[in-house]
Symmetry: C2
Subunit: 166 residues, 2 copies
DNA sequence: ATTTATGCAAATCCTTTGCAAATCT
DNA sequence: AGATTTGCAAAGGATTTGCATAAAT
């Protein structure tokens, strides 16, 4: 009944929720009400989020059955392990985004309005490949963020040149 | 006497210490014993370090004149602002490296032994330029870290394939 | 003489943990 | 039943802050 499961062999045929349940089973973990609520809420969100935002979303939910903060953190970690989410550090706090069935991409991060803009680049992948081959490094992932000022903020601050002092 | 100073106009003619003093003056900040001790200690180190390591180094120093932890944090922030150091987040803690007079570079990060390997790539700079131009984004910096397993760790763990579960 | 810096202790922020009670299989 | 999960409260670790005192200009 508990079908053999290993990371990397599953094709994108399962929904995120199914995928998560497979993951749980393969680890002898249980499918609980809270885990279900959390995965569903995460699936509803298509942008980036952190633990607090998720908690806030959950508070608004008809599922008035509460999910505690520790459980959110625990489940987020499991979802990351399951390959559903990608975790990144943005100035001290953990930010998550979907990483299952979503095309690989990286980010432009506006230091002013804190917006994250996605982009993807095949050249980057080639570069990663070349560099790591050269160092005999086994790549398991990467973090690439270009920081600066987004187009919107550039426009609204044209007279105000002191960004670099902020 | 207090010569006009602005980021970006100073060529690499000043030593890191001089550069920092210029920065302090330009901001109406003072050149104190502690700041001098810290910059000198940082200049002695050519690898990456975090606040704790720096504090530990200082403890061993003949400058038995102590520098407190808050002052180290405060000065590290100033040095980053002054463009002497580059700050990055490695799993929750801030790690610093030289960023003045050093060639631009990025890192391979071994998740197993926590080693940082530097590399530099012109192609990456071109890529950053192309991507940000496309999004009308004003680049102020970037963070690029390729994570995985370094050559040494690959060798010593050949029989042990469970890295991805760690 | 002013004003900025320092050190101390305590506070913050985000995240994690110990443990008894509740919940899954 | 037997094991895993949950929620609570409290702990944790890194970094920051309030404030009285010390030091720099």
């Amino acid at each position: 009944m508990a079908q053999e499961f290993s990371l990397g062999t599953v094709e994108v045929a399962l929904s995120p929720i199914e995928r998560f349940e497979e993951f749980l089973q393969s680890r002898g973990k249980r499918i609980t009400v809270q885990r279900r609520i959390i995965v569903q809420q995460v699936a509803r969100r298509h942008e980036h989020f952190d633990a607090d935002q998720l908690l806030a979303d959950l508070a608004k939910t008809p599922d008035h059955r509460k999910v505690s903060r520790p459980t959110v953190y625990r489940t987020l970690a499991e979802m990351t392990e399951a390959g559903l989410l990608r975790k990144m550090d943005l100035s001290g706090r953990a930010v998550y985004e979907h990483d299952y069935g979503y095309p690989q991409h990286d980010h432009l991060y506006c230091q002013q309005c804190h917006k994250l803009i996605e982009f993807s680049s095949d050249d980057l992948l080639k570069l990663i490949d070349a560099v790591s081959r050269e160092h005999q490094f086994r790549v398991l992932g990467h973090r690439f963020i270009i920081t600066g000022q987004c187009a919107d903020c550039r426009r609204s601050r044209q007279a105000n040149r002191r960004l670099e002092l902020v």
